[in-house]
Symmetry: C2
DNA sequence: ACATTATCGATATAATTATATCGATATAAA
DNA sequence: TTTATATCGATATAATTATATCGATAATGT
């Protein structure tokens, strides 16, 4: 009956940031918290935080704010982090291996249960307790395990082919770390992890700072 | 004289995507390209691409589009990728090591010249030709090398302290992979690499798909 | 040479997102 | 008990970002 509320993308990007802060607050023994406080600490706007938080369905109390536990629960539920999803990873190289050992993914409701590679030297071993199997086994095994999330940490030139195999495997959402556009049907969701976008921001901001300083020193 | 044009953040995020596509096109021998073509291939809006591209200063020709080489150059120049920046990395663990071996960073104008760690077993070795030194040497060395970009790939609990040391080192921009908010002065730019935000999107979208299917199968 | 067409740059409109304001209310202080 | 205050949720306004439209122009075909 209920229509699926389309959470704005910017909100979806900010919510994990609040969560991280709230877990930290909880660890410090803080029981309830207001948007004003969060905003001060994270240097954000309190109205925006209130709105973001409101989207998750929780209601706060005037003067007090929100109960930290309830707030954490409300956000995690909204992000679906309370419901663990299995995922496969393809490409157990430098980046892939780092991911296999990253315990935090489980906190975000993501559990990498098996990895695949084409390098025979890497397969049949375990990295951080995650088995590494040959890529040939992916389609059948993933399909039978009903896994819907695939992570690509293989070279860019292999990414499209791997994506297509993933789709055959029943994967519905692909988290792509290879710097290559994936051409997939409309019903497959691709999240591109573009580290290069971060670098754009960093370098541009740094240029602004440098230019400003140059201008300033010239005017002296 | 010229005011620093403030490129919209969404544009800054999209430009690297175009670049990646354009390099691929160039490799295929394509000499000139139109926004319509790019839009079709990347499944984006051509007007948006034209606007993004226009911000970098290039002018195209009606009916033809843009020269691929010139377009690549215009975007890379705008992103400051043609001008290599040195960076330091702190925390040569799983993720940090992967980064040290990642050749693409250089294409984005980012060169990690030295890494620091506090684990004596890791220091004084080289990983992918990048020297690993003890964290105690960071402030002095970084300051003397005039490096302005710092990457944090150390545990979250250490992140704030490392950030403060980085600021002492003359670092102006911090790329933070630790899931922790950094409290820094206004003149320091922090780019938080929130992998958890990507997961939010993936899990939410997957939930939408699943819910829709459930609804559909119930109505049958 | 002239018409046709694809695409450009610019401008106008629409949609989304962020911020400011305001009445209501729970807590704390007078 | 009454008053002051911080914060909430809702609503209104402003800013940013995305999309649609249009005249101008370079290439192509008649
Ligand atoms: N290393 C980084 O820091 C980093 C950062 C951002 C993005 N990336 C991207 O992530 C990807 C992996 O980077 P990396 O540094 O880990 O590279 P890597 O070479 O260390 O690892 C790639 C792995 O993929 C495997 N592989 C290759 N083709 C395959 C196939 N068809 N099927 C299955 N496995 C296959 C290889 O055997 C190897 O183990 C690349 O696309 C890279 O651009 C890497
Ligand atoms: N591994 C991943 O896939 C991944 C993904 C996203 C974010 N992260 C984040 O990146 C950070 C590193 O993750 P990891 O998996 O590589 O952890 P890790 O434990 O493998 O590496 C951390 C490294 O930091 C070093 N270190 C600790 N304290 C230090 C200090 N004060 N100064 C200098 N070095 C110090 C350690 O000696 C270790 O080598 C963590 O904050 C993690 O949450 C990791």
């Amino acid at each position: 009956m209920s229509t699926i509320k389309p959470t704005p993308a910017p909100t979806l990007r900010r919510l994990p940031k609040y969560l991280e802060y709230l877990h930290e607050a909880k660890r410090k023994g803080i029981a309830s918290i207001s948007c004003t406080t969060i905003a001060n600490d994270l240097k954000l706007d309190s109205v925006q935080i209130r709105k973001d938080i409101g989207i998750t369905g929780i209601v706060g109390k005037p003067k007090t704010g929100y109960n930290v536990d309830e707030l954490i629960h409300s956000i995690e539920k909204h992000l679906n982090w309370d419901d663990m999803s299995s995922a496969i990873l393809v490409g157990a190289g430098n980046l892939g291996k780092a991911f296999l050992g990253y315990e935090n993914f489980k906190k975000y409701g993501l559990n990498i249960v098996v990895a695949f590679d084409k390098d025979r030297n890497k397969i049949d071993g375990n990295i951080f307790n995650v088995p590494i199997l040959h890529i040939d086994k992916m389609v059948d095994l993933t399909y039978r395990m009903k896994i819907h999330i695939g992570i690509i940490t293989a070279p860019a030139d292999e990414a499209q082919e791997i994506a297509e195999l993933m789709i055959l495997s029943g994967i519905r959402a692909i988290w792509n770390f290879a710097p290559r556009h994936l051409d997939v049907p409309d019903n497959i969701y691709v999240e591109n992890a573009e580290l290069s976008s971060d670098i754009s921001h960093i370098k541009r901001r740094l240029k602004e700072i440098t230019d400003k300083e140059k201008k300033y020193s010239e005017s002296n």
